[in-house]
């Protein structure tokens, strides 16, 4: 690679299309309204999460039954868990993000699975189901923290 770089001025930038201040400009109220929009979507989120849980369950089942290439099957679990991880906290379900992250972290370092790994994945899938079925918003409060601690113990044991 050459040590030389070429600097190019873009033909336009956003400053030419935005005005600062005035009617319609973003202010604290607009930010608050936008955050409220997210809060209002939280009920919809629960239904979306239930759909994702069905997908996660299917991906888990395929992995357990070994239908196909293990890396592909693991990727199937990872993709759903990753989506759920990203969505959870965005809709006020931070505990879902925390558990989804743990599942992603477990799955992404695996090339193949045995009974131990299957058991661990099952524990996380169950926990994600509990979060939605019990409506554990935020960090889940005391129940959520107990769930997290219980998860760690179970995963260490398995």
């Amino acid at each position: 690679m050459s040590d030389d770089s070429e600097i190019i001025t873009p033909p336009s930038n956003l400053q030419s299309k935005v005005q600062k201040g005035g009617p319609g400009a973003v202010d604290l109220d607009a930010i608050e309204r936008a955050e409220q929009v997210i809060a209002n979507l939280a009920d919809d989120y629960v239904n979306w999460a239930k759909e994702d849980l069905v997908k996660l369950e299917n991906a888990y089942k395929n992995l357990k039954e070994g239908k196909g290439d293990q890396k592909e099957l693991l990727l199937g679990v990872f993709n759903v868990a990753h989506d759920m991880k990203g969505q959870g906290g965005s809709f006020g379900y931070e505990l879902m993000t925390a558990v989804g992250d743990k599942l992603c972290r477990l799955v992404e370092k695996l090339d193949k699975v045995g009974p131990k790994e299957i058991e661990k994945i099952r524990i996380y899938v169950d926990a994600m189901q509990v979060i939605i079925s019990r409506g554990l918003k935020g960090d889940g409060g005391k129940e959520g923290q107990q769930l997290l601690m219980g998860l760690e113990v179970l995963v260490q044991k398995s």
């Binding site: 690679m1 040590d3 070429e6 190019i8 956003l14 201040g21 936008a34 969505q87």
Partner: protein, 215 residues
């Protein structure tokens, strides 16, 4: 606080998850954005760019068949790219340091970690508005200047030395901060998913990502 009026900007949202698209779209509407187009993956988005004059793209990383990084590279360096200079915000749950650097090196302007918030989205949009960056063509890279702190006055085309050491310095300073074991950079550089070695790269917070990107 009186900030920017976004009503004249055209946004393209690229995400294979319709719920996340709905969320981002709702947030943008609440911030006063009127023109928003959605695409379900990188290939669709690239097609849309041919007729939609996007001012800003908010793009998810994990998509198929064309993922977010592939899409960014196509926009930046594709010979038939309709808009190689368009600002791109990469939206993703992949926040390990090597992922952030990979996104930056593909040519994104900003990196927004999931879970997302209205404040988070607006802060990235504002950063792009307030800090327009020149584009750099260096070797295989074409995209916004990755050295954000330097704001040289320039007129037209210039040439300068690429400062590889500065980039490596910013990476190692965050590495030190996170107290990662030595050798992690080597692992990160492989950029692969699930290497099977049992190691874990720590995920960065949005503040840490901003610090990393700002050098």
């Amino acid at each position: 606080m009186a900030d920017y009026n976004l009503s004249r900007l055209n946004f393209l949202i690229v995400d294979d998850n319709k719920h996340m698209r709905a969320l981002v779209k709702s947030i943008l509407h609440a911030l006063g954005v009127k023109s928003i187009l959605e695409a379900g993956d990188g290939a669709d988005a690239f097609k849309e760019l041919r007729h939609f004059p996007a001012d800003l793209i908010i793009c998810d990383w994990s998509m198929s068949p064309l993922d977010g990084l592939d899409f960014v590279r196509m926009v930046r360096t594709g010979t038939d790219s309709p808009n190689p200079f368009v600002p791109i915000i990469m939206l993703t749950g992949h926040t390990e340091m090597h992922r952030v650097m990979e996104a930056r090196d593909s040519g994104v302007h900003e990196f927004l970690a999931k879970p997302i918030s209205a404040k988070g989205i607006y802060s990235r949009i504002r950063a792009i508005i307030e800090s327009p960056r020149p584009f750099i063509r260096a070797g295989l890279y074409f995209g916004p200047d990755r050295r954000r702190k330097e704001n040289p006055n320039y007129n037209g085309v210039e040439r300068r030395k690429a400062d590889k050491g500065e980039v490596e310095g910013s990476v190692s300073s965050i590495s030190d901060k996170l107290k990662e074991p030595s050798g992690n950079e080597d692992k990160a550089a492989s950029g692969g998913d699930g290497g099977g070695d049992g190691g874990e790269a720590p995920e960065l917070s949005q503040d840490e990502i901003n610090a990393l990107l700002n050098g």
